[in-house]
Symmetry: C2
Subunit: 156 residues, 2 copies
């Protein structure tokens, strides 16, 4: 029963970057509903199809399948535009892997850091470049950033 | 570029049956839009995830991936109910494979036969138990039979 437990934070400084190499991700959604999303993703030279269920707290069912990248490319054409474009960086800190997504296009300027946990209550160490937690804020869901890009939000 | 070219017919007699063994199919849809459908299917003891694009005449883009049957079972729970339940029979005729679907549940009584062709204009021999063509009738799309089951149609 694959369940994803993820916590998401804003990034408050550039200290994480330090010449870290990134990998480009282009993704789109075949389905973007609250109860279920179907995502097509090209990450580097690989293709993926990912189905996620309803978010319950920071947990969510997730099913991911690698598919031929050429087919992923064609499937992106079936997605509801626009596509999401970002660069993914990975950085270990305190025994955990942090994924840092730097968005491009209409979401340029937005950088978020995610950590995947084994259990909902798992302890972890917060790096100093990690800011406010936004796990519960649906506006930061990638599926929402397609329709309501960060550049169009009324900034606080 | 996987494109599916399919023609679909009603079945007008029982002559196809002749003790043919069938395989149960249970399927549901994560997404049921005109432009794209995402189908979860359990066929016998195998699981599949299938994405189809917009129908253009009798052609349609189709991408199918085999997935672990246990995950297919869980993904069926994420689909919008109800699920579609049918028995699939396969019969060769005149060098082509015919797939005959006998529906259960709310679609009980409906039997359709499908043939997959290499090209749109390909010739094929129609068995005598094959009746009216319904390729162009969206009511017979499996995705439509979920919401508008055959038993609720106003019969002609």
């Amino acid at each position: 029963m694959p369940t994803e437990i993820e916590r998401k934070f804003l990034v408050k400084s550039e200290a994480w970057r330090e010449g870290l190499p990134g990998e480009r991700i282009v993704q789109g959604y075949l389905c973007r509903e609250k109860e279920r999303t179907v995502r097509v993703r090209i990450k580097g030279d690989k293709g993926f199809l990912t189905i996620k269920g309803l978010s319950e707290g920071v947990s969510r069912k997730e099913f991911e399948y690698e598919i031929p990248v050429g087919e992923a490319d064609e499937l992106l054409l079936l997605c509801t535009p626009p596509l999401l474009d970002k660069v993914r960086y990975e950085r270990r800190h305190g025994g955990h892997l942090w994924e840092i997504d730097e968005f491009a296009g209409e979401n340029h300027g937005l950088i978020v850091a995610e950590i995947e946990l084994d259990e909902e209550g798992s302890e972890f160490e917060k790096p100093e470049w990690v800011g406010e937690e936004v796990s519960d804020d649906p506006r930061y869901y990638n599926a929402c950033l397609v329709e309501h890009p960060w550049s169009q939000w009324r900034k606080r």
